[in-house]
């Protein structure tokens, strides 16, 4: 059981919550995640990155986007409610050291998991450039938090409603062409965005780390549902990752695997929303 201490809505579909979890707050490191359930009999186990932690309060912060039934259900919960199951911290922490010049690229909700990593990289003495992108201004998150860390902050929106009207790969390419070029890039966001960031840096031979969000069940290496092709090897994202060398990841296979249950999950989601708003007209 874990109590929700605080909830904040960032946009229509994006929420932040602080959860009471003193042991996880104490042990967690940048790059790790938790798995939670909104119901421990019939609920799904969903992984979410630990965006921040406060050992004094004994809390962790999660930032999530509503994409299906469980995230929708979670968005209906409020401060004071209890989550029946929360486990973590899971995954291998990000390897942090002084690399030199680092570029952090965050797309959409991916800015949330990027934040603690950027923080740790800055603390380790790196020069940190941050690129964050979103479809539009309303979907942009953690701008101020990132600003306070970044040596340089570039904001992109798809429709130009704020910052540059560009995809994040455009400024990334520019940075790769500068001298000195970056020593390393970290890209976190939707799989397609991570794929294209990796393609952008490949010709410049800049090591590019990505954080994969595969489908998971247990999160402890027991089921293999989270497996991805990395170079010639098969890796389990929940224990070997979530971070891998983006130049080696087979993104197309990963994207196919993420879509394995698309139709069923869409159906679950619709049923759930219809039930939740019985008396109102819902447009899906």
């Amino acid at each position: 059981m874990s109590r929700i201490l605080y909830k904040q809505q960032f946009s229509d579909d994006v929420f932040l919550m602080r959860l009471h979890a003193p042991l996880i707050a104490e042990e967690r490191k940048a790059g790790q995640f938790i798995i939670l359930q909104t119901d421990d009999d019939y609920g799904e186990r969903i992984p979410l990155t630990i965006a921040d932690a406060d050992t004094n309060e004994g809390s962790i912060t999660i930032i999530f986007q509503v994409v299906g039934k469980t995230t929708k259900q979670l968005s209906f919960m409020n401060a004071g409610d209890e989550l029946p199951a929360l486990v973590g911290p899971l995954g291998t922490p990000t390897h942090i050291e002084q690399f030199g010049r680092v570029v952090c690229v965050g797309g959409g909700i991916g800015v949330a998991p990027l934040h603690p990593i950027a923080q740790a990289l800055k603390a380790a003495g790196n020069h940190v450039s941050i690129i964050i992108g979103a479809r539009n201004k309303d979907l942009l998150i953690l701008e101020n938090e990132m600003k306070s860390i970044a040596d340089e902050l570039i904001i992109c929106t798809d429709n130009g409603s704020y910052g540059r009207k560009d995809l994040v790969t455009a400024p990334l390419k520019e940075l790769c062409e500068q001298h000195p070029k970056p020593d390393m890039v970290i890209a976190i966001g939707p799989p397609v965005m991570m794929k294209f960031c990796s393609e952008t840096t490949r010709p410049y031979h800049v090591f590019t780390q990505v954080s994969l969000n595969t489908i998971m069940v247990d999160g402890t290496g027991m089921c293999g549902g989270c497996r991805v092709n990395v170079g010639k090897e098969v890796k389990f994202v929940c224990v070997d990752g979530p971070e891998f060398d983006g130049h080696l990841v087979d993104f197309d296979n990963m994207i196919n695997r993420l879509n394995a249950y698309k139709d069923i999950e869409r159906h679950h989601y619709k049923c759930f929303v219809k039930n939740a708003f019985k008396d109102e007209e819902v447009v899906l």
């Binding site: 609920g43 186990r45 029946p84 069940v217 549902g225």
Partner: protein
């Protein structure tokens, strides 16, 4: 053996019971040998392949007593030799023959804690029943006394009649024991250490207890009610339970001792690392480890419409492997609506490691067995989903040093089968999470924790047992190791107190 309806078996047993009851005290060996074996009543295969309810329905009262009368009460008790925990088999069976069920279950419980589980899932035909003199006299292990079914009968009788008593717990010793993992090994250690009066905390990574009994072995073979009952007993004994707690991550193993003040730790984290075949196409959409498939179906209840966790919709399923896990996966796939389920195994039925009963049940339910065959590569469609599997055929060669005839590939035998789901059930390795996060802990090259004869690991105060030590083994062996570990822990803590 083909399916016989339950009523028929029960009626037959009633007649036999009337006939033999008057002579129960005086039966001669020859007469006992003549009593027919009592078949286990099951649900009709056509019905059960569409539901999750338990397949084997359990003996009726008369069947149990008639079967018990078959036991020769041998002077040389071979059967006991075959039981890893050395249950006093003839003694408990004699009580059943006489209708003294309460005494019978008491005998069983002297040595085993989970008889309702072992009676259902033990590979009896390779253990106690293999050694049974009666079976040997017929040169047929299937004619041995049905020891496992009788064990199940008395355990169910006890539970269903509300006779389960919470074991006596000694006054508190003030010592604290951490048990990591709630599979059969961990459950037994928790009970045995708690009985001595130690404070026990049971840590489990998942949100539900039971280990493989919960997430692996399906409801239709081992109902969750039975596991729940065992856990309820631990609860009543005052065992502290912490689910959603991954030792190694939520807390380091050593921190349990150094920071949290536990005096002893037992590690029973199981095998839990799925092995894949390493063939082309294994990461296509529609290829699952048996662990994933069964966890979705069992633990996450994907068979139930209420559940959020999805299961892959399948029409033609291929299961790779020939053990119990493969049987469970194939029978589960049938129940989840697959039209055709093929079990593909490289050798023949004789070499198949699965329990015979499971193989028979799977066949009755319509699972098709393809022997001397293996998958060569998995072929996908343009969406990256499984479309077909290319297979190859084998023939059996000369017996090798171990006496087993090795399968030999037939060159040019490739052929394709139209398949949309592949379930890989070729074994489990040991989960490296604990050893990776505890580098001081000695493991062998297969990743199994190394222990001495008292189950102690290379580290002080840390013991281990079950599949994490043995490699993927059996419930009863895991339980046996748990018992031995608990005895060592109790001894260590008692000595420390002196």
């Amino acid at each position: 053996m083909s399916y016989i309806p339950e009523e028929q078996l029960i009626t037959q047993a009633k007649c036999l019971f009337e006939e033999y009851l008057p002579k129960v005290e005086t039966l001669k060996v020859k007469e006992r040998q003549k009593i027919p074996c009592q078949e286990m009543p099951t649900q009709d295969p056509l019905v059960r392949s569409q539901n999750m309810e338990e397949v084997a329905l359990g003996y009726s009262f008369e069947q149990a007593r008639v079967e018990a009368m078959r036991c020769l009460q041998c002077v040389k008790k071979n059967c006991i030799e075959g039981c890893p925990v050395k249950i006093d088999i003839p003694r408990f069976i004699d009580h059943i023959a006489k209708g003294e069920f309460e005494q019978a279950i008491a005998v069983v419980k002297e040595t085993t804690l989970l008889p309702a589980v072992c009676g259902r899932v033990c590979p009896q035909e390779k253990q106690c029943q293999l050694y049974c003199t009666l079976g040997k006299s017929f040169k047929n292990v299937e004619k041995s006394v049905a020891i496992g079914r009788l064990e199940r009968f008395v355990a169910d009788w006890e539970r269903e009649n509300g006779k389960v008593i919470v074991p006596f717990v000694k006054p508190s010793t003030g010592k604290r024991v951490a048990v990591v993992g709630s599979g059969p090994a961990g459950l037994v250690v928790a009970a045995d250490c708690r009985r001595e009066g130690h404070h026990v905390t049971l840590f489990e990574a998942f949100h539900k207890l039971g280990g493989v009994l919960r997430y692996g072995i399906p409801e239709f073979r081992l109902p969750n009610d039975i596991i729940d009952k065992e856990i309820e007993t631990l609860h009543s004994m005052g065992v502290e339970i912490k689910t959603n707690f991954v030792v190694g991550r939520t807390r380091k193993l050593t921190d349990l001792i150094e920071k949290d003040g536990y005096d002893a730790v037992f590690v029973g984290t199981g095998a839990g690392l799925p092995i894949f075949m390493g063939i082309e196409g294994e990461n296509l959409v529609g290829v699952f480890s048996a662990n994933e498939y069964l966890t979705r179906a069992n633990l996450m209840k994907a068979f139930d419409k209420k559940a959020d966790t999805p299961i892959y919709p399948s029409k033609n399923v291929m299961v790779l492997g020939g053990g119990n896990v493969a049987m469970d996966a194939s029978r589960m796939a049938k129940r989840l609506g697959a039209e055709n389920v093929y079990v593909v195994y490289r050798r023949t039925e004789n070499e198949m490691p699965a329990r015979r009963e499971e193989v028979l049940h799977a066949k009755e339910e319509g699972v098709v067995f393809c022997y001397l065959q293996n998958a060569n590569r998995i072929i996908g469609d343009d969406k990256g989903r499984v479309r077909s599997v290319e297979c190859v055929r084998y023939e059996l060669g000369e017996p090798d040093a171990s006496g087993r005839r090795a399968p030999i590939l037939i060159n040019g035998s490739e052929f394709e089968m139209e398949i949309d789901t592949v379930i890989v059930a070729v074994g489990n390795g040991s989960n490296p999470l604990i050893s990776q996060t505890t580098p001081q802990l000695a493991v062998n090259k297969r990743g199994n924790i190394v222990v001495d004869e008292t189950q102690k690991t290379s580290m002080d105060k840390i013991f281990a047992g079950g599949d994490i030590v043995l490699g993927a083994a059996t419930v009863i062996l895991a339980m046996g190791e748990g018992r031995r570990s608990a005895a060592s822990i109790n001894k260590m803590l008692a000595e420390a107190a002196d």
